[in-house]
C-alpha cells in the first residue's frame, strides 16, 4: 500500500506497536504498584492487599479510580501551568524510553515483517540517557512550581542526585559499549543472542555500577531521598493531589520497568532464552517466546528492586553524594580502563 510514494502500512504498523507498548507499559506499571505492596507485605509477614477481587487483584484499579475521583487541588501560590506541566513531563519522559527497547525478534503477519521494536535507532542507548535526563525536569518543575520549601528542596536533591549518578552510569556503560561496539540496543541484544555469554559475564563491575545508578535514577530506596517522608514530608509531589500525584507515582514505576528492560537487554541478553534453540520452532512462536523471556527478566529485576527497597534503609544525603562521586565514578573509570586494557591485550 503505497500512496504518495509513502508506505502507509508502515505508519499503521508502528502506530499499533506504539499503542500496544504504551498501554502494556501502563498496565504493567499498574500491576507493579500492586506487586510492590504485595512484595512489601510478604517480606514483612503480612498478607498485603487482599480484599478487592481474588487475591486483591483488582486493588490497582481501585487505587486508580480513587486517584481519579479525588479532588484536584492547585495551591493558590503555585505556578499553575508549570504545576500542571510537571507530572505530564515526568510521565512523558518515562514513557518515551520504551521506544528503543527491543521486545523481541521480528514477527510475520499479513506478509509483512514486523520488528518488535518501535524504533531501532543507531544511538539507542544514548537516546535513553537523553530522555531519562528529561525526567528530572518533571521533578524539578513540579517541585519548583509547588512554591513549597520542602518540594523545592526535594527537587534540588532529585536533580543533583540524577546528575551525579548519570555520570557514573554513562561511564559504566562505556565499558560495555567498548566490547559491543554499538549503541543500538537491537545490535547489543543480537550480539548476545549470537554469542556464548551474556554481557554481564564480560562486564560484572560495569553491571553492578549500572544497577546501583539505575536504582538512584529511579529514586528507589536506598536512593529515594527526593521523597524522604521523614525529612521532606513526601518530597516534590507533596502539593500534588488526584491524578497528578498518580502520574508522578506512575512515572516512577514506569521508570523502574524501563530501567529493568534496559538492564535486561544490555546485560542479560534481552529476549534471549538460554539453552533454547529458537530455530526449532516457527519464527512467530520463537518471537513470542522471546517477548515472554524479556518480560520474565523484567519482572525479576522489578522484584529485585522491591526486595532491596524493603531490606535496606535510605542513605543520608552526604553519603549519597560521596558514594556517587567518590566511589561510583572512580570505579566506573577503572572499569572503563580495565576493559580497554583487556581489549588491547586481546588484539
Amino acid at each position: 500500500m503505497t500512496i504518495l510514494s509513502f508506505d502507509w502500512a508502515f505508519i499503521i504498523e508502528k502506530l499499533i506497536m506504539i499503542a500496544i507498548i504504551v498501554f502494556a507499559s501502563l498496565g504493567i506499571a499498574l500491576y507493579t504498584t500492586f506487586g510492590e505492596r504485595k512484595v512489601a507485605a510478604i517480606l514483612q509477614d503480612r498478607p498485603g492487599p487482599s480484599r478487592a477481587g481474588p487475591f486483591g487483584l483488582l486493588q490497582p484499579l481501585a487505587d486508580g479510580l480513587k486517584l481519579i475521583t479525588k479532588e484536584e487541588i492547585i495551591p493558590s501560590h503555585a505556578d499553575k501551568w508549570l504545576f500542571i506541566l510537571g507530572p505530564g513531563l515526568a510521565m512523558t519522559a518515562s514513557l518515551l524510553t520504551c521506544a528503543v527497547i527491543p521486545w523481541g525478534t521480528a514477527i510475520h503477519v499479513f506478509g509483512r515483517t514486523v520488528e518488535l521494536q518501535i524504533a531501532d535507532i543507531n544511538i539507542g542507548i544514548l537516546y535513553v540517557f537523553a530522555v531519562v535526563s528529561m525526567g528530572v525536569y518533571g521533578i524539578m518543575i513540579g517541585g519548583w512550581a509547588s512554591n513549597n520549601k520542602f518540594s523545592l528542596l526535594s527537587a534540588l536533591r532529585a536533580a543533583s542526585q540524577a546528575i551525579s549518578y548519570e555520570l557514573a552510569m554513562g561511564l559504566a556503560l562505556i565499558g560495555l559499549l567498548m566490547t559491543t561496539g554499538s549503541l543500538s540496543l537491537k545490535t547489543i541484544v543480537e550480539a548476545q543472542v549470537a554469542g556464548n555469554w551474556w554481557n554481564v559475564v564480560y562486564q560484572p563491575l560495569g553491571f553492578l555500577i549500572f544497577f546501583i545508578c539505575a536504582m538512584a535514577e529511579c529514586n528507589r530506596t536506598p536512593f529515594d531521598l527526593p521523597e524522604a517522608e521523614n525529612e521532606l514530608n513526601f518530597g516534590y509531589h507533596q502539593e500534588y493531589s488526584s491524578m497528578k500525584l498518580g502520574f508522578y507515582l506512575f512515572a516512577e514505576y514506569i521508570n523502574m520497568i524501563m530501567s529493568s528492560a534496559i538492564m535486561a537487554s544490555m546485560y542479560f541478553g534481552g529476549y534471549d532464552l538460554p539453552f533454547f534453540d529458537e530455530s526449532t520452532v516457527a519464527p512467530n512462536i520463537a518471537a513470542m517466546i522471546g517477548v515472554g523471556t524479556l518480560l520474565i527478566k523484567i519482572v525479576l529485576f522489578i522484584f529485585l528492586f522491591m526486595w532491596i527497597r524493603w531490606t535496606i534503609p535510605r542513605f543520608r544525603y552526604d553519603q549519597l553524594m560521596s558514594l556517587g562521586w567518590k566511589t561510583m565514578i572512580p570505579l566506573a573509570l577503572f572499569n572503563m580502563l580495565l576493559t580497554g586494557a583487556i581489549i588491547l591485550a586481546k588484539l
Binding site: I42, L43, Q44, D45, P47, W307, I308, W310, T311, I312
Partner: protein, 178 residues
C-alpha cells in the same frame, strides 16, 4: 552493677575491613533475611471471615438478665450505676402494677435503663455490684455506629430474649455468645 544476664556483649570498635566497607556482602546478608521472611507464617487474622478467640475472662457488651420464666430480674436499685466508675449507666425505676407479675420478678423494676457504650470502660463492676444477678457482661463487643446516639443502649438492646416467648432468639444469642 552486676550483669543480670550473660547476653551482654562489648561493642566492637575495630575499624571496618575492606569487605565490610564495601557493604555489598552485608546488604546481601540482609536481603537473605528479608527473603526468608517470605516463607514465614503470617500471624494475620482475616477479620470478618476469621475471628480471634476471646479469653474466658473477656468482658464485652452488657446483657440484662431474665429468670427462667422470662421475668426481668432488675429491680432498679441503682447499685450498678453507683458502682460504675465511668458513670455510663442511667436508670429510672417504676412500680410493678397489677397483672405485670409475668413481666417483672420483683415489685420494682427499671422503666428506663441506658448504658452509654462510649463512656463504658467494660470493667465489669456493675456485674459485681448487682445483688440480683440482673446484669452481666457478654462476649460480644459494641459494633460500630454512625452517631453518638447509636451508642446509647436502651433496655430493648440490652435485655436478653425471653426464654418463654422468644426461645429461638435466645438460643441464637447464646450460640453467638458461646
Amino acid at each position: 552493677m552486676q550483669p543480670l544476664t550473660n547476653k551482654a556483649q562489648a561493642v566492637s570498635r575495630k575499624p571496618m575491613t575492606f569487605l565490610e566497607r564495601l557493604y555489598l556482602i552485608n546488604i546481601i546478608k540482609g536481603m537473605m533475611i528479608t527473603f526468608s521472611h517470605m516463607f514465614k507464617k503470617q500471624p494475620t487474622i482475616h477479620y470478618p471471615e476469621q475471628k480471634r478467640e476471646f479469653s474466658p475472662v473477656f468482658r464485652g457488651l452488657h446483657v440484662l438478665n431474665r429468670d427462667e420464666e422470662g421475668r426481668e430480674k432488675c429491680t432498679a436499685c441503682g447499685l450498678c450505676a453507683v458502682a460504675c466508675p465511668a458513670e455510663a449507666i442511667t436508670m429510672e425505676a417504676a412500680e410493678r402494677m397489677e397483672g405485670e407479675e409475668n413481666l417483672y420478678k420483683e415489685e420494682k423494676y427499671a422503666a428506663k435503663y441506658e448504658i452509654n457504650m462510649l463512656r463504658c470502660i467494660f470493667c465489669g463492676l456493675c456485674e459485681e455490684a448487682c445483688p440480683k444477678d440482673a446484669i452481666y457482661l457478654s462476649e460480644t463487643f459494641a459494633p460500630a455506629n454512625y452517631t453518638r446516639k447509636g451508642f446509647i443502649y436502651g433496655k430493648e438492646d440490652l435485655l436478653i430474649p425471653n426464654p418463654k416467648t422468644e426461645a429461638s432468639a435466645l438460643a441464637m444469642a447464646k450460640g453467638v455468645e458461646a
